[in-house]
Each structure stands twice: as structure tokens, then as C-alpha cells.
């Protein structure tokens, strides 16, 4: 039986090992043309010697120098040619160009490859910083919250207007006119006026800036459904609301507190004042700063509460201005009729102004105690923050 099994050699007859027709030299490429030397089949030693000889470099001139190294092989080829083989067969090569696919339609994805990502995700604070940065950087650069151009322009205008007292002080110092210096210099009245004067800062600039900022702060997340992007990620509602609050507060602080600090610092520098001046006026500045902080906090909480109950940016903006100016107007009219200042407790601005007067040690323009205004202010903030948290809790992930 074993004899019947054909061996491997039996499967390939000797004839198969030979080409059916001899290959003509014309058909072979130039590099593959057979050498002229004829070697006998049985002369293996001479064949190996020939192969070894062909593997050697052609000639090594002893006095040659290549790239600063003596004795290097000089082939006569350029560096690029040696490195990349350019020039070898270039004259006979045919360029391979992309073929036009007749059946390809516009927009077809040819190589859709899902690439995994195994990076590290950062902690809660980095995520919160992302929210904060998104809102604040949006005022200066693209790629963050798209603030309307009008908001940016108004904010810039108000910022310039808010440092008007510093500019006046500088003009007074530069011209040497004492009247201007006295008028714009640091005093209880001027510090109070920078933060809490009704005309024109709290009648025009601060409420308008606040209205523009808070307008779409939360309501647009509700309208666009972007709340789903936040809450389907590891961001809790407390952090979301806190970062929104902080974003508005920081922008308002730049307008109110930064300009107040610039005014006070400018007065020291422009007047060339010393430490005694700082000792005298430092507490006044801190009082004004605290009153300004209270103003920023109150405007932010009321504004965000209004933004959270709406799904557009028009209503919160108008409602905020209406609330600040409207309550002031109503209180003024009722006070004029009944001559009782307690009605001013309904106005957030007047409560702030009253507490501010108390903080700065100014004569009170209201008859009721400042503690009433403080309690009302705390109540207003508490109610606003409650509305804000309740409405943020109602923001949906799956459907709005």
C-alpha cells in the first residue's frame, strides 16, 4: 500500500520545472537580464564565488572622503537618491494616480473608523471650571458661549462709564484744578455713589447690564434643550446653578467691584497718597465693597430666578428691569401720597441703598430702621434662590 502513495516529487514531473518557452532577454527588465558569464550547473563553487563577488562594493578608492569620513563608499549618487532611491528606474516608472470612482456619490464616507479613547477624565472642579469658563470667555473669544454683539458692546460701554469717576480724578490731577479733584475724590458720598447711586448707575447701567446677562443664562438651556447636555453628564444641578450664578456674579463684579477698586486705587496713585490716607479711607472702601458685593449678589439671584422661570431671554430681561425700576417707582408714588418710607421695603434697590447707607455711615434717607431693609434683602435673596433651585431641578434630561 505504501508503494502506491505517490511522493511529492511524483506529483511534479521534471518537465514542469522547465519553462514551456524560453524567456527572451527582451522581455526581462534591464536589472534582471542574465549575466553574460555562463556557469555550468555542476560548478557550484564557481557560482557561489560569483554571487559573493557581485555582493561586494564595486571599488573603494582609498583616498575618498564622504560626509567628512575618510574611506566611505563614494557611489556618485546624491544624498536623496541614496536615501530614497530616487532616480532608480524613475525614467521607466509610471505614476499611480487615484482612480475616479464613477459610482461614488457626494458625501459618502469612505473610511469610517471608530477610534477609541482611553484618556483620563478629570474631577468635578475641572468640569465646573469648564462651565464657568464657557460663560465668561464667551465675552472675549469664539468657541464659548455665543453672547450677542449688543451685549458685549453695552457691557463695554458700561464698563467705560463706570470708571468715569476715575477718569475725572485723573483729569483733575493732570490739570491741577482742585475743584475737580474735590468733586471726584474719595469720600463716603462718592464711594456710595459709585455703587448705589440711583441716577444713573442703578437707574440705567447696572440693571441693564444685569438684564442682558441673565436674559438667556438658564432660559436658553430650557429653550434649546441644552440642559440635557449638562445633566446627562456628571454634573449635578447644584454645581450647574452655582456655576451659572458665579458666572453672572463675576461679570457684574467686573462692572461694579472692579471699577470701584480701580477708582479707589487710582485715587491713591493719582493723589500720591500715603498709608495714613489708606488708614483713613480703607474702611470706607471696604464698606462700599461690601455694599457692592451685596448688590451683585442680589441682582444675580433675582435675575437668575427670573431666567429660570422662562424659556426665552426677553421676559427675564424685561422683568428684571421692571422689578428694579417698577418697585422703586411704585414705592415712590405711594410714599408721596402717604409719607411712609416703609413702602420702600418692596423695592430691592431701596433695600440695598438703605443697607449701603448704614454700611458707609451716611445719613439715612429712609425713616424705617436699616435692619428692616436688611431682613427684606435676605428674604428676597432667599426666595430668589429657592425659585432658582426649584426651577433648575425641573430642567429635564429626556424631554422638555
Amino acid at each position: 500500500m505504501e508503494d502506491e502513495i505517490p511522493s511529492v516529487d511524483d506529483l511534479f514531473p521534471d518537465d514542469d520545472l522547465q519553462p514551456s518557452e524560453p524567456i527572451s532577454e527582451e522581455l526581462l527588465p534591464i536589472a534582471e537580464q542574465s549575466p553574460q558569464t555562463i556557469v555550468e550547473d555542476d560548478d557550484i563553487e564557481s557560482l557561489m564565488a560569483l554571487e559573493q563577488a557581485s555582493a561586494q562594493p564595486e571599488i573603494l578608492p582609498t583616498d575618498a572622503e564622504f560626509m567628512g569620513e575618510k574611506g566611505g563608499v563614494v557611489t556618485g549618487r546624491g544624498r536623496m537618491e541614496a536615501a530614497f532611491g530616487t532616480g532608480d528606474g524613475d525614467e521607466t516608472a509610471t505614476a499611480q494616480v487615484a482612480q475616479v470612482a464613477s459610482d461614488v456619490q457626494t458625501g459618502t464616507i469612505f473610511h469610517q473608523v471608530y477610534r477609541p479613547w482611553r484618556g483620563k477624565l478629570n474631577s468635578r472642579w475641572v468640569r465646573n471650571w469648564a462651565i464657568l469658563r464657557y460663560h465668561i470667555y464667551g465675552l472675549f473669544s469664539k468657541g464659548h458661549k455665543p453672547w450677542p454683539v449688543m451685549t458685549k458692546l453695552v457691557l463695554f460701554g458700561v464698563l467705560v462709564a463706570s470708571i468715569g469717576d476715575l477718569l475725572m480724578l485723573t483729569v483733575g490731577a493732570a490739570t491741577g484744578i482742585e475743584a475737580i479733584e474735590r468733586l471726584a475724590g474719595i469720600s463716603r458720598g462718592n464711594l456710595y455713589g459709585h455703587v448705589l447711586s440711583f441716577w444713573f448707575r442703578n437707574a440705567c447701567t447696572y440693571p441693564i447690564v444685569t438684564a442682558l446677562i441673565i436674559g438667556g443664562m438658564i432660559s436658553e438651556d430650557r429653550r434649546n434643550g441644552t440642559s440635557a447636555l449638562y445633566f446627562s453628564r456628571p454634573i449635578n444641578r447644584r454645581d450647574y446653578a452655582a456655576m451659572k450664578f458665579l458666572s453672572v456674579a463675576i461679570i457684574l463684579s467686573v462692572v461694579v467691584l472692579f471699577t470701584l477698586s480701580a477708582y479707589y486705587l487710582g485715587a491713591i496713585l493719582v493723589g500720591g497718597e500715603g498709608w495714613s490716607y489708606v488708614m483713613d479711607t480703607g474702611l470706607l472702601f471696604l464698606g462700599a465693597f461690601a455694599a457692592g458685593t451685596l448688590l451683585v449678589f442680589t441682582y444675580t439671584s433675582i435675575g437668575l430666578a427670573l431666567s429660570s422661570v422662562s424659556s426665552g431671554k426677553f421676559f427675564p430681561a424685561v422683568a428684571f428691569i421692571g422689578l428694579i425700576l417698577g418697585t422703586k417707582m411704585v414705592a415712590f408714588l405711594i410714599w408721596a401720597l402717604f409719607d411712609s418710607s416703609a413702602i420702600y421695603l418692596i423695592s430691592p434697590y431701596d433695600n440695598l441703598a438703605h443697607v449701603g447707607q448704614w454700611m458707609l455711615g451716611l445719613n439715612h434717607t429712609y425713616e424705617h430702621p436699616a435692619s428692616w431693609s436688611l431682613v427684606m434683602l435676605i428674604t428676597m435673596n432667599a426666595v430668589s434662590l429657592y425659585i432658582l433651585s426649584a426651577r433648575v431641578s425641573s430642567l429635564e434630561v429626556t424631554r422638555e
Binding site: 458625501g107 471608530y114 479613547w117 477624565l121 446627562s232 424631554r399
Partner: protein
Amino acid sequence: MQTIIATENLTKMYGPHVALDEMSLKISSGATALLGPNGAGKSTMIKTLLGLIQLTSGEGEVLGYNIRTEGDNIRQRIGYMPEYDCLTPEMNAIHQVKYCGELTGMNTNIAMQRAHEVLEYVGLRDQRYREISTFSTGMMQATKLACAIIHDPELLICDEPTNGLDTKARGFMLDTLFQVVKQGDRSILMCSHLMDDVEKICDRIVMIHKGKLIAQGKIEDLKAIDREIEIWVWGGASRMEDAMIDAGLKPRRTGRVMRVVRQDETTYDLVLELAAKAKVQIRRMEDYEPSLEDLFLVIMERLGYGVKSSADLLKSQPPTTAIAPLPSQPGGNF
């Protein structure tokens, strides 16, 4: 196969209303569809899986994390693609996707790099610097998908991913999702009312109704619940139908084509006998290969709903018809 979602007697009540009723689920990695009519509890289920709501009772784990206490960890590993618009219209796609990455905890530079990658993957490479407000519905859906996969989540929850898409865009979206599973080795939980879409992507389904689990398992296994024989009759379809009803076969007839439940091997012989008695020709008789749509309708019919297609049932809450539920109506899993 790894279990990615496991719940035990999950109950969620909103006042007296029961949104989830003792739901016990076990979902393995891969592609799974979450089906059910409007108001069935799908949205509550998704919110539960995302760890966003406090449960009334029961326990559950997603990707090994407790849904009661480890919501943050779950949401870091899940990508969620909502059904409704969730993009800022005034932003560019690239910045929107990058912001989503940052919200998940990615560094800014890495998020930007990854945003380029995923937008290319979803087919928006050349449109990534365009404002989203100028996008078509398909492009918006693709952007939402890019937002969901920027951090390469282990589980992707897609709520109606082909909503509002034309045939071509729908096909592309399904292919893209399919590749996330096959190429990316990721899991998908997909809510859709288009059974064709579900069948294309998913190999398993979870069906819920009125907060209760109706069916879960492999689609192929579930299709075997009620195997039917399809019969093409010629020359007296009504007579044949009457004969079948008399024999207790409960045929479903559309013109000359009828389907009867295959009870056992003898059903074929019985049909032939009935045809001979009714003097009708049977031109074709074969085992019917049910689609997911058929499966869905069979299940809903058992629950007492007379509907003609899944679209009727899923778009609005249907009225219960006079069809009585079968005595063997399952309370939980098939």
C-alpha cells in the same frame, strides 16, 4: 457576555402614579432596544439608568455602579443622545462637541482633538466649523451623536436616533451606530419606534408597558413565541377561513393570504385536510418568518390592544379594544 445593566424590583412612583413597577432587568453588552408605547416608562427608565432620579424602591447597577449612589460615575461612562434638540444653535459644531467633552471632564486640548475625530467619524468633517443653526436634521443628529461619543463611553443610550431623518441619512446613522458596537466594541441601548431600525442594529430587546417589563431577550428567541404558517389560498378563502375557525385555528387573513399559529407538526396536515373539505386550493404553505414588527404586534395583542402597526401604538396612547387578553398572558418575561 458581560452584564452592563442589572436591576432588581425597581420601582419609581410619582405620587400615586407608578412609573416603574418592580422592574427586574438584565441587559448584556451589545446592542439592545428599549421598546414601549408612549407613557410606558421609557424616559423614567433612562433617567433611572443615568442615576438622575431617586427610586422609590429596588436596586440597580449600571456598568457595575449603583444607580442610587454612584450617578456621577455612571454618567461619566455613558453617552446619551437625546431625542430632542439639545444643541446651541449659534455655536459651531466643533466647539459644541468640545464643550460636551469638557463637561464630561476632558482637558480642553484633548477635547478639541477628540472633537475633530468624532465629527469626522459621524461624517461632519467638512462641516465642523459651520454654525449649528444652519444644519439639516441629519447633521444635527450626527452632532448629537458626536457629543455623546466624544469621551468614548462604554454604553451609548440613543433616544430615537433616526428621528426626522430621510432614508439616506437614516441608513448612515444606523451604519454609524452599528460600527460603534462592532468596531468600537461598545454597547448601545436604543429607544426607537421604528422596528426596522431596531432590527438592523440590535440583537436584543427590552419591552416595557405601563411601567412593567413585558419582554426581554434575544429577538430571535422572542420571535419563536408564536410560530405561524403562512397559507396562500385559491378558490374560496372565506370558506377556508370559516373551516379554520371551526377547527379552532384562529386564522389571521389578509385577502387570499392567511396565517395560523403552528401548534405542532400536525397543524400542516390539519390545514391540508381543511382545504380538501372546503374544496379550495392551497398554492403555497410555508413557515412564516416574523419580523420584529410582528413580534411587537403579537405581544401588544396579548396585552389587549388592537393595533395595525407599531406606529399606531408608539405615537400615541391607544385605546384598549375589545380583544380579550389570552389566559396565558405573561406577567413578566416570556
